[in-house]
Amino acid sequence: MSTRLAEGGRLIDRSQAVKFTFNGKHFKGFAGDTLASALLANDQMMVGRSFKYHRPRGVVAAGAEEPNALVNLGKGGTFEPNQRATTTEVFDGLAATSQNHWPSLEFDVGAINTYLARFLPAGFYYKMFIHPRPFWKYIYEPFIRQSAGLGKAPKDRDADTYEHFHAFVDVLVIGGGIAGLAAAREAGRAGARVMLIEQTADWGGRAVVDGVKLGGKDAGVWVKDTLQELETMPNVDLRRRTMGAGVYDHGYVLAYERLRDHVPEMDGPRHRLWRIRARRTITATGAIERPLSFAGNDVPGVLLASAVRDYLVNFGVSVGDRTVVVTNNDDAYRTALALHSHGLIVPAIVDARPQGGGELAAAAKAAGIRVANGMAVAVVKGGKRVTGVTLCLQAGEGAPLEEIACDCVAMSGGWSPVVHLWSHCGGKLSWDDDQAMFRPDAGRPPTGADGAPMVIAAGTANGHLATAGAVADGWAAGLAAAKAAGHAGKTGTAPKGEDAAAAAPLPVWLMPQGASYAKRSKAWLDFQNDVKVSDVQLAAQEGFESVEHAKRYTTLGMATDQGKLSNINGLATLSNALNVTIPQVGTTTFRPPYTPISMGAIAGVARDALFQPVRKTPIHDWHEANGADFEPVGQWRRPYAFPRKGESVHDAVMREVKNTRTNVGLLDASTLGKLVVTGPDAGRFLDMLYTNMISTLPVGKCRYGLMCNENGFLIDDGVVARIDEQTWLCHTTTGGAERIHGHMEDWLQCEWWDWKVYVANVTEQFAQIGVVGPKARDVLESLGGMDLSKEALPFMQWADGKIGEFDARVYRISFSGELSYEVAVPASQGRAFWDALLKAGEAHGIMPYGTECLHIMRAEKGFIMIGDETDGTVIPQDLNLGWAISKKKDDYLGKRAQERSHMTDPNRWKLVGLETLDGSVIPDGAYAIGDGVNANGQRNTQGRVTSTYFSPTLGKGIAMGLVLNGPDRMGEVIEFTKGKDVTVKARIVDQVFYDKAGEKQNA
């Protein structure tokens, strides 16, 4: 059984007990424990079930590479699935539950799958759920969905907060082991701005666990000394619990800091996402031990040899009383020696190498541990827990030679450098035959904006598995990175590491090498996704020869651990099956993040009210307080209507239209874009921007203008006012202000840079309020001030003056067909002006109106709306706006495009009004049905509806639409689709439904 030893454990504080629960059971751990170490200390070996066969799963690793020990953590607003027990620090009150089992972890119905395993090989789902097709949606998908996924998605809102931080450093060092520490110290000494991040809660990495020597000191002492020096450097920032998640272009790195996962009662954000720009990034990310592929290597109690050592040294936990060590390299001997020195039994070290190991092997033998060279594990005995192993020859096919009783197996298939971050942004790998691993190829690094290498791999992550090489490499990397970032200050000398002489490892991809099918189908590669050696071989046999295809076919490496343990073993298996070398097979693509990061961290503060910006006019608060029903227009929120108590939105809109047509309405038009264009060449410039002639507009007058892009398509419209000899004010659509401002600047800066024109966006300087309706003048005049009579300020003119005590610029323009004044006052006075108008208008029946009323009134007048009548393929000529296209101008943006044959085609659909025969409203976007069918057998069309409303003024449905030869077909009745096999008849009419003579707006 696994248990806590009476003493030991460098990371735990035995004076501080913590209580936690696992599947409702109460357990005790110590401060400093991970959830995994605390569970093992309580003999909770089994922690979950595998994805496909629901096989019992125990802890296999001690770090970020753990594939099995995934748990649900927390509840309600802090619930989170798929959390790794090996990287979760325990705290008092932690509540974890295991995943992927029903009804319980110990007894699971889905485990039947394991007996069906021979019917569930790789690609099973692809093959099984193909025929018959009608079954896809209603039978197969629900079935697959039922059994898919590990943890459950949270149901409650996330109760925590998150944030981002933008950091800029010369040298970012990822990994706080000895290589990373040496690198950071050297770069810091050189004077560089350094950030050193470590994903776990403590520094020093494996060197401290293994007790190696550095410069004559114990690694622990060296780490402490180095940290002390780093802490005194003001140019170095040290961050624990911070993982380098991804490396991106131009030195951009995302790091994920877990601020209070281990102290949930603390205030502040839970996670911080670091958005780092580093001139150089050093990846000192260490290495991960590989499992060995033998039958039953997934039985709980089979762990990585390094993990067994970690639990022992770091947490004082023995995974078993009797541990068989099985290895192909020297490193695992450390585990045997550590166990032995703690008084635990190591019945045998099974070394696949015929010649055995080096100095460490000699030490093991000297300690009296049995070492069996050239041997292998034939099969592991036990179901929910290891009970023993059967040994065989590695060279053979697995004939049992001997059985050894044990409750733990410590396996080591060698080490793989963590090359993920090196590879994210294009760093290439080379295969190291001697150590049987991929390592960063320094000759093909990821390069940055300056074309130079931007990532430097260091230490074990760079393939230097031994202490001396690792620490020296880290030191050199720190120096090189600082220098490349422009810092060549005084530095120190390389620290010296000491190593025991090691024998070469032997690549072992299958144990024993000639294992039978029965054994291969029990030799796991991917513990979480249940991929076995036999599955990868099947994939190869069925033609999935590319590593990327084999991965997807078998799901190898596609689980939440992204194959940290399984990828190399898997592709070695594939290379054997294909009879090619491992580098020929290559790796799958390493993609960020290195380990999963929380959705909250990605969002940062952008949630709830801050999810996206909401733009508010100066009168927004009044709208909100008066029951406005808002609609988004770009990032603006505009009142759609102002429903009264007990009134529907539709009724409110009808009331607003009627009131504006008979009395007076008030519109908050502040969102309309306002661009000031000034300079000696402003007129010439605007003549190029607009289709009509703007330069000839007299001072004091307004003109409706159209803007096209170089493709000829209409992009914006609005009223232009001539302010003075050199200055115009251009109104744009609500959504268009920034876009059109950018458009103008583009042409001024990049094409006509010698033209003397300045543009400023003054949209938000003004509150602009439309006073609209037959009584508009009465309302304004009652406030006193400037002369607003028909004679003093006729239609399509503007004037500056005072209305009451307000500084106002009044435009006599109308988008409704009514007598209308658009009054601009400084935004700071906008709310006061709105209040004053409401008060003054009381006697005249004034009511505010929203955007829907605005749209109906403009449609009744036959005015177009950008985005309704236009969709990026419509030219002004389609909308009968030829009158707004100057014939006198040689050039304007879009003119050449409008001369193209397709644009001058007489059969382009053109704008008309539409009136249904039965008075109903045609659905928006409905198509007019034409004769016959097209090549696809679909009915031909001859037009479409662009705007459609119920007009309270006319008491019937009205619409505008683009119709083939429309203007030539006045009075003709055509049919529009209204649903399946239902059509509605409409008569083609003039698009102006209301006051065609314009008597009202001119009044």
């Binding site: 933008h166 800029f168 503060v605 801050l610 909401v614 733009r615 508010k616 400023a760 700071s828 006075q829």
Partner: protein, 188 residues
């Protein structure tokens, strides 16, 4: 005079060592022209008492300032009730030169951010290097805060003035408040 209100209407907040305050009504003028011209330099000096600033710098401050916005644009800061007459004076002084002077006082909001880790509050939101050694007092940066355009300048070691468009004043204030509440990061 009618009642004039700033977008944030005097809003204030504090979180730990950070205080956030609506700077209220501030006179702001966009001046575009040839920044090297003697006439323009003189007109700016007369208008706000400041020399034309160097690239990315703010000369002066809320009581009278000139900020570098682009190679042909300055932001002049003055009293809110002086903005209109200052625009008129600039236009008169620069009549003979191609230029533009417009009152943008009400198009924007100004927020004063003060406190020991004010730079960190901004660095949570802006992709800008705010290391005190590289972003000294008097530096002005146009960038984004969260998802909107903004500018800020550093008026003393602990104080920044943040300018954004009026319509998003609440959004920016909320952003700054949330970032301040999350506490210091310990970088600067």
């Amino acid at each position: 005079m009618p009642e004039a209100t700033s977008a944030l209407n005097g809003r204030e907040a504090s979180a730990g060592a950070i205080t956030l305050r609506d700077a209220g009504l501030v006179g702001m003028i966009t001046l575009r022209g040839n920044l090297a011209s003697a006439k323009l330099k003189a007109a700016v000096k007369k208008a706000v008492g400041q020399a034309v600033p160097e690239v990315r710098r703010m000369a002066g401050g809320l009581e009278g300032g000139a900020g570098w916005m682009s190679p042909d644009e300055l932001l002049l800061v003055t009293a809110h009730d002086k903005a209109a007459e200052t625009v008129a004076a600039l236009s008169a002084a620069l009549k003979a030169e191609h230029h533009m002077a417009v009152n943008v006082s009400d198009a924007r909001a100004v927020i004063t951010l003060r406190g020991g880790h004010a730079a960190e509050v901004l660095a949570k939101l802006a992709p800008a290097d705010l290391d005190p050694d590289l972003f000294p007092v008097g530096e002005l940066r146009r960038t984004r805060l969260g998802q909107v355009a903004a500018a800020f300048w550093k008026s003393d070691e602990d104080t920044f003035h943040v300018i954004c468009f009026r319509s998003v004043a609440d959004y920016v204030f909320d952003l700054l408040e949330a970032s301040a509440k999350a506490g210091p990061v310990g970088v600067f």
